[in-house]
């Protein structure tokens, strides 16, 4: 068993706030130090927004939970200063194999396009990601950034008070109170804050159970994703095998609805199942086992006055397609620059409503994808199963059927269109970099476009004449002059049929607006729009 679960990474320490005569007010309090709360805290601190993180625990997530982290998340982690640690430890994979019954029906290659710094996916245990993020948070604190991580601080009461939020907190040394201008609730799927505020969390429960096991073995299975429909070792159900670092393998076994969950979790039930799957001669050790039912649901709105919900607290999806942690980190990517802009006075508070609009759109996209995968994996009706099996029976001989096989559509970032923050588009330019979409990486000399983005508003001039760093109404905009002669990938990714282009990027690297030629006035208007003015 990996020891990182047992270590207190941010042990309880008494804070001066606990001895204050009146509740101390903080600009932002984040509740929850899961991957989402940690991403929010790092992002805010890097933007010099003082942030206090409260978590009722002091350790990383128990068990692996999330294992697949997508390219967009890795790009965000790069911006947060933990991308290298994640990619160096993680397993990079591209090949997936699909089995139906006894047969291997086809394999697919995620075929990552050339010219991106980060791969399509890595596999990494969630506890490693959290560990790297906690280390990054500590590093920022040590460097004087305004970030405080308070372990064993359990929020017991949240009271919205118009222009701020009051909190009651329980610690090993008793309780204390705090106030926050903004509260970011990243307190997980069971969100106590959501419950305290009496907010709904409606959606669909899938009537199915999945045994999730992490198994340690020195076997020569390749670093591929193997998915079985109706395998001989789990008749009528599905199974998944996926590699993680440290010779740990993730096994998912669908169990069906009417089972005795406690009994199915016992090693004497689990071990024979896995032995059947891996083959009698494979030596393995159980690292972690759990049984999950999955659901797809979201809050009606993610912003409630000064309380903002992010990650699993705001939305939950089934894990087919690896969208939970990935989309939660993307929530914070969307939110933090907006909070910073509102707090430093460069944007009105209603900018935060665009977080709601954009991330609700993303959550709906994720829920749609994950519901469709679940329907394919667990057909809900006889006819659904007939078509599912027909697709699988055709897939071996007929390539056309392969794209219909849905064992999880892997997480892609949401392009926010329409978005209230997006400005004009220009004709003839590539759809993938349209306003609302995240910037697409490309090689720049010996480096990468993504690494050249600085976390603020930025103007890219591609074969275009743009001025050196500009400012608009107090907002600094750095500029990046690029040429397709030096960096040919930019043509296909950013120009399309255009001769030249100016792109305004938001601080979260999404495209705000684009033009064929630079026009200072249009850029100013687009910045105003992107700031919700």
């Amino acid at each position: 068993m990996n020891k990182v679960f047992e270590r207190a990474l941010y042990p309880y320490r008494r804070s001066a706030d606990q001895d204050a005569a009146a509740p101390v007010r903080h600009p932002v309090i984040v509740v929850g130090a899961g991957p989402v709360g940690l991403a929010a805290a790092i992002d805010l601190a890097q933007r010099d927004v003082p942030v206090v993180v409260l978590d009722d625990n002091d350790k990383v997530s128990f068990g692996s939970r999330a294992i697949c982290f997508a390219k967009r998340t890795l790009e965000i982690l790069d911006r947060l200063g933990c991308g290298d640690a994640a990619v160096e430890t993680g397993v990079t994979w591209n090949l997936g194999k699909v089995f139906f019954g006894e047969r291997r029906v086809f394999e697919f290659n995620l075929l990552p396009e050339d010219g991106h710094k980060r791969p399509a996916f890595i596999n990494l245990q969630q506890y490693y990601l959290e560990q790297f993020m906690v280390e990054r948070a500590h590093e920022l604190t040590a460097a004087g950034k305004p970030l405080e991580l308070r372990g064993r601080n359990r929020v017991t009461q949240v009271t919205p008070c118009g222009d701020h939020v009051a909190l009651d907190i329980e610690t090993p040394e008793g309780s204390y109170a705090l106030e926050a201008d903004w509260l970011v609730a990243c307190d997980g799927a069971g969100s106590p804050i959501r419950a305290m505020m009496g907010l709904d969390f409606v959606g669909k429960v899938f009537e199915d159970n999945f045994l999730i096991a992490d198994v340690k073995m020195q076997a020569d299975f390749p670093a591929e994703r193997w998915f079985w429909f109706d395998p001989p070792f789990n008749r009528g159900q599905s199974a998944l095998l996926h590699k993680q670092p440290d010779d740990v393998w993730r096994i998912d076994l669908q169990l069906g609805w009417d089972i005795d969950r406690e009994r199915e979790k016992q090693p004497e039930r689990v071990i024979p199942r896995i032995r059947e799957m891996l083959g009698a001669d494979v030596e393995f050790e159980l690292d972690w086992v759990s049984i999950y039912t999955f659901q797809c649901r979201r809050m009606d709105r993610f912003r409630h006055g000064r309380v903002i919900f992010a990650g699993d607290a705001a939305h939950q999806v089934s894990p087919f397609g690896a969208r939970g942690a990935n989309s939660g980190v993307q929530d914070t990517d969307n939110l933090c620059w907006k909070l910073a802009a509102v707090l430093n006075g460069s944007a009105p508070a209603r900018l935060i409503d665009s977080y709601d609009a954009e991330r609700v759109q993303a959550a709906d996209e994720n829920i749609l994808n994950s519901t469709r995968s679940t329907e394919f994996i667990t057909p809900k009706s006889e006819i659904s199963r007939i078509f599912r099996d027909a697709v699988l029976d055709l897939a071996e001989a007929h390539p056309f059927a392969r794209p219909l096989v849905n064992s999880g559509r892997l997480s892609m970032p949401c392009a926010h269109d329409p978005s209230p923050l997006s400005g004009p588009d220009a004709p003839g330019m590539p759809a993938r970099t349209r306003p609302g979409a995240p910037a697409v990486d490309a090689p720049l000399g010996n480096g990468w476009l993504m690494d050249a983005l600085d976390g603020g508003f930025q103007l890219l001039g591609i074969d275009a004449d743009i001025p050196q760093d500009v400012a608009h109404d107090g907002v600094a905009v750095s500029t990046l002059r690029l040429s397709t002669a030096d960096n040919p990938a930019l043509r296909e990714r950013y120009l399309g049929e255009a001769e030249s282009a100016g792109y305004l990027l938001r601080p979260d690297q999404h495209v705000a607006a684009r033009w064929h030629n630079h026009d200072a006035q249009a850029v100013g208007a687009a910045i105003d729009r992107a700031l919700g003015k």
């Binding site: 078509f387 027909a390 029976d393």
Partner: protein, 68 residues
């Protein structure tokens, strides 16, 4: 814009119909259902055009007889 062809379009309709039934011969109900599903998928892919497919789905659905 392409549209769903609903005028007669198959040369030798009786022969085609006989071939359709022959393809099912000797199959159980479950096997026949599966064959039909594969057939739908093969033909749908051949058509490809989503607008035509939508029109076909709607036309098939609209021909559902009222409950007897």
């Amino acid at each position: 814009m392409s549209s769903l062809e609903t005028a007669p379009n198959i040369a030798g309709p009786d022969d085609f119909y006989a071939e359709l039934l022959a393809a099912h011969e000797g199959l159980s109900k479950a096997e026949s259902d599966a064959l039909n599903a594969r057939l739908v998928l093969l033909l749908a892919n051949h058509v490809g055009d989503r607008e035509v497919l939508c029109a076909a789905l709607a036309a098939a659905r609209a021909a559902t007889p009222p409950p007897r």
